[in-house]
């Protein structure tokens, strides 16, 4: 119980520190975006059929002619009231745009994270328990290949094989499947297989290496030897004693990766046309739609800060040796 009370104080202190750091992040983001070249209404300027007054009126309407600090202040003030801003390009609320993309992002990226974990933990543990065995060598090789190959490459290879040669899977992700019942789920699974595999294998590969080294660190410790010498079976030693301890850093690593589930995967989303947050971010950047870029990046920043805190807390909770002060 002692631990619990201390950690509450710790959490409160950490939460308070979050406020200035988030403000700082938002100022940097806003200033960067405001100073970047480009104008959301450029397309109007280069169009001979549009008189310059239209562009001027639009700039005035969206407050683009105000000084940066004033725009930042408006943005922050609106945010406090839960208003994420208004997209220049789509003329709709930024929060609506983000909410439209969120479910798909959570499903696809979430599934790929789960796939990564489901593959990485058993493979990493097995590889570590038999270091330098054939299995370890193979696992290591694949892990290296996995995280050295960029997702745009594996994505294209999968498309060429499974969509174009074999014609098994669609390579355009559609969020509006009209089928009902089982067919609905089947269609969704079918179109998710490739993007989830690409992302899952990429992240899984890095995680395998991490789990393996973490288990190797623990397996040599004295208490494991003690457990073995007490005559506990090897399987039990690994699952009860080794893995439990070894997974502590893995849990925090996974927690730190959680913000990615929200911010999406820009490249993979582009290849498979997955309408996730990542593709929203990139199209908004390309069209200089600063309110949307600001919204997405700031949400990501918040999540990174929050999950850092969660990782800290989890770490302490899982490993009582770490004290909060």
């Amino acid at each position: 119980m002692q631990v619990h009370r201390v950690s509450r104080q710790y959490v409160i202190r950490k939460l308070l520190i979050m406020i200035p750091s988030l403000l700082g992040i938002s100022i940097v983001l806003f200033a960067l975006l405001a100073m970047a070249p480009g104008d959301p209404f450029d397309e109007l300027a280069t169009n001979p059929a549009v008189p310059p007054e239209v562009r001027a009126a639009l700039r005035a309407k969206f407050g683009l002619d105000d000084p940066i600090w004033m725009r930042y202040w408006h943005w922050l003030f609106a945010l406090m009231q839960g208003d994420w801003g208004f997209s220049f390009v789509s003329r709709m609320d930024v929060s609506t745009l983000i909410m439209q993309r969120l479910p798909v992002t959570l499903v696809v990226i979430g599934a790929s994270q789960i796939l990564a974990i489901v593959i990485a933990i058993p493979v990493g543990v097995l590889a570590a328990t038999r270091p330098y065995s054939l299995f370890d060598q193979i696992a290591n090789t694949f892990a290296f290949i996995g995280f050295s190959l960029p997702t745009f490459f594996t994505g294209l290879v999968l498309i060429l094989v499974f969509s174009i040669q074999l014609d098994w899977l669609p390579f355009v992700y559609r969020a509006d499947i009209t089928a009902t019942g089982w067919a609905f789920y089947w269609e969704h699974i079918k179109q998710s297989i490739m993007p989830v595999t690409v992302l899952g294998l990429f992240q899984g590969a890095a995680l395998v290496r991490f789990v393996r080294s973490s288990v190797l660190d623990v397996i040599r410790l004295d208490y494991v030897t003690t457990a073995r010498s007490k005559g506990i079976g090897e399987r039990k030693v690994i699952t009860r004693h080794v893995v439990r301890t070894a997974l502590i850093p893995v849990v925090t690593l996974v927690a730190l990766q959680m913000p990615i589930v929200f911010s999406g995967a820009i490249v993979t989303e582009q290849i498979f046309r997955v309408p996730g947050i990542g593709s929203l971010l990139i199209t908004s950047m390309l069209s200089n739609d600063t309110p949307v870029v600001m919204g997405v990046t700031f949400v990501s920043a918040c999540l990174v800060v929050v999950f850092n805190l969660i990782a800290d807390i989890l770490y302490g909770w899982l490993d009582p040796r770490i004290a909060f002060r």
Binding site: D39, E43, V54, K61, P170, R273
Partner: protein
């Protein structure tokens, strides 16, 4: 071809000795676009052809879903705000104009009962007004009737500067009045030869008064219907996720019998052009893919599967080379390329002549663009592959060397020609885009052989095409000797297109580089020709002036056409659709169908 020749041809068409098509082709051969050619016939008393419909289905619906792939999805669906073609194409699923442009540049009635002509009383003889008769019995998707009030409202909505409509230019200088419930009159301030602008084509889509009346002017962005279109078109709105997906279902009360053929439509966005082509040509996941800016070689390879085909639709967009008439390297009153200066070397007409001989349009077409970029020297060209006879493509390094030698530009020790201490060294800029860099290389190589040193510069597209006054690298500032880009001619009338050659339109610091004359060419002769086109009511004389203006600019080597940039799209084998280079890709969506 002069004015009298054109009149002779018109006479032949009237007498039935020459087909409309033949006439249009003859016009295109001399550089007059099909829309203008069509208008010449109309105002000469020959009715616009209504081409025989090829639409086969005998009942509405039953065609299943129509799946369109736009690799940049629409981001908004109010046609008056739709700047990008993707947004216009998306809006066009639901909204319609009074009339649309067909591939041959003729008007096709949509919400109009008929196309106005002098004969049916639609066109005033003095060119001061046009009267549109509206189709009766048309209803908006919510059941309310479509009337003249809606048409007048669109004018009020778009012309209000506070609305900040992209379409404002088509509406601010006209006056629209309701004649009766189904007739509107568009009056011009001065005699206007090109009358088919307001309520026609991409900028003519009509929105309903009853849903937008409260959101005119500054409140325009708050209209809920901005995101949930209610139009008169063949499909009714179902769902919209900006940048990703637009869906619609067949309109059961569409005003044309037996249309549309498809039960639903979806327009998916995102991804890149190559994979969009794949999804139609190789896997057949989609029926139609738009704007395939892909190397022709790749398209041809994808086409081999036989699941679909690529169509190249001619329009007016032109990739061209501009030669600076001012000095980009001297700053005067805070701006380079100032009108007060003259280019040190390019102002010598012999140098320009030599440079023109060093542009190898044919090789650029053959090795870079293929079907997607037919070579041309013209700046204004018709919707056809025919080139103007007045400006043949000539590539001749020896001749260029000869001209420069005679003009006194002698090769120095470094192989670069110079005269009076001024070297023929140029900086040639364009945006970062693979075909453009290849084109630059081809021209640089040829120039080298003639003793001209060209330094290549490429600028990120988002900077090059921006209107950022603080950035020196924008195409409108033109702070280099040569530059190249594509200018679009979305409207079939060359009026705005040809502003490129009007003295007062020069891009300068004073107008924040928003003038349309990028080369800053100051030519009284060109100005006079342009003024003629503005005032001339007789389309024949007007067309002749446009041709002369084009020839003047090309023959003085102010600009040089490199390749045409037609619209390239892919469709599945069974899909029948007419794509017009003068209107949106989806302008004729009601008539699309699949062979059984």
């Amino acid at each position: 071809m002069n004015e009298r020749d054109i009149r002779g041809l018109v006479g032949k068409v009237k007498a039935g000795k020459l087909s409309r098509r033949g006439f249009v082709q003859a016009m295109m051969a001399v550089g007059i676009g099909a829309p203008v050619a069509g208008q010449i016939l109309v105002s000469s008393g020959v009715a616009m052809a209504q081409p025989a419909s090829t639409y086969k289905p005998t009942k509405r619906g039953g065609g299943g879903p129509l799946k369109l792939l736009w690799w940049q999805g629409p981001t908004l669906l109010n046609p008056h705000f739709a700047v990008g073609t993707k947004d216009q194409d998306g809006s066009r699923l639901f909204y319609e104009p009074l009339a649309a442009w067909d591939p041959d540049g003729n008007l096709k009635a949509k919400l109009a009962a008929e196309i106005p002509t002098k004969e049916n009383g639609g066109l005033a003889a003095d060119g001061m007004s046009v009267t549109w008769k509206l189709k009766q019995g048309v209803t908006w998707h919510d059941g309310k009737p479509f009337t003249a009030d809606d048409v007048v409202f669109n004018w009020e909505y778009a012309k209000d500067p506070a609305t900040a409509a992209y379409t404002i230019a088509s509406y601010q200088d006209v006056t629209v009045t309701k004649v009766d419930q189904y007739t509107v009159k568009v009056a011009f301030k001065k005699a206007t030869p090109f009358w088919a602008d307001a309520f026609v084509g991409t900028r003519g889509m009509l929105i309903p008064k009853h849903l937008f009346a409260d959101f005119i002017g500054a409140k325009s962005r708050d209209a809920p219907t901005n995101l949930k279109p209610v139009g008169t078109g063949p499909y009714m709105f179902k769902d919209f996720k900006p940048g990703d997906l637009v869906t619609g279902v067949a309109n059961p009360n569409y005003h044309q019998a037996n249309k549309p053929y498809f039960d639903s439509v979806e327009m998916k966005g995102g991804g890149d052009a190559v994979s969009a082509a794949r999804a139609v040509l190789q896997t057949g996941e989609f029926d139609f893919a738009w704007n395939l800016q892909v190397e022709d070689e790749i398209l041809s390879r994808l086409e081999k599967g036989g699941k679909g085909s690529v169509s190249v639709t001619p329009g007016g967009n032109i990739e061209f080379l501009l030669m600076n008439t001012t000095d980009p390297w001297t700053e005067v009153d805070g701006e380079r390329s100032s009108l007060k200066t003259k280019h040190p070397t390019l102002s010598d007409p012999e140098v320009r002549k030599a440079l023109a001989l060093l542009v190898d349009n044919k090789s650029i077409q053959d090795h870079i663009y293929g079907r997607t970029g037919p070579a041309t020297r013209n700046f204004l060209y018709g919707p056809s592959r025919f080139d103007s006879k007045n400006n043949p493509i000539e590539f001749n390094v020896d001749k260029a060397n000869d001209i420069l030698e005679k003009a006194g530009w002698k090769k120095g020790a470094d192989g670069i020609r110079a005269k009076d201490g001024k070297k023929l060294k140029f900086v040639y800029q364009t945006s970062i885009n693979q075909p453009r860099q290849k084109t630059q290389a081809i021209i640089k190589q040829a120039a080298q052989k003639a003793g001209i040193d060209i330094e290549l510069k490429s600028v990120t597209a988002s900077v090059f095409f921006s209107s950022d006054v603080a950035n020196p690298d924008t195409y409108t500032k033109f702070y280099t000797d040569l530059e190249m880009y594509t200018t679009t001619m979305g409207q079939p009338d060359p009026g705005t297109h040809m502003l490129q050659f009007v003295s007062t339109e020069a891009a300068t610091k004073a107008n924040k580089w928003q003038g349309r004359n990028i080369t800053r060419w100051q030519s009284p002769e060109a100005d006079k020709l342009y003024r003629e086109t503005e005032a001339e009511l007789d389309p024949v004389k007007r067309a002749a002036s446009f041709i002369k203006l084009n020839d003047l600019a090309i023959q003085n080597q102010i600009v040089m056409g490199i390749v045409q940039r037609p619209t390239v799209s892919a469709r599945t084998a069974k899909l029948n659709c007419n794509i017009s280079g003068w209107d949106n890709n989806t302008s004729d969506l009601s008539d699309w169908f699949k062979d059984a």
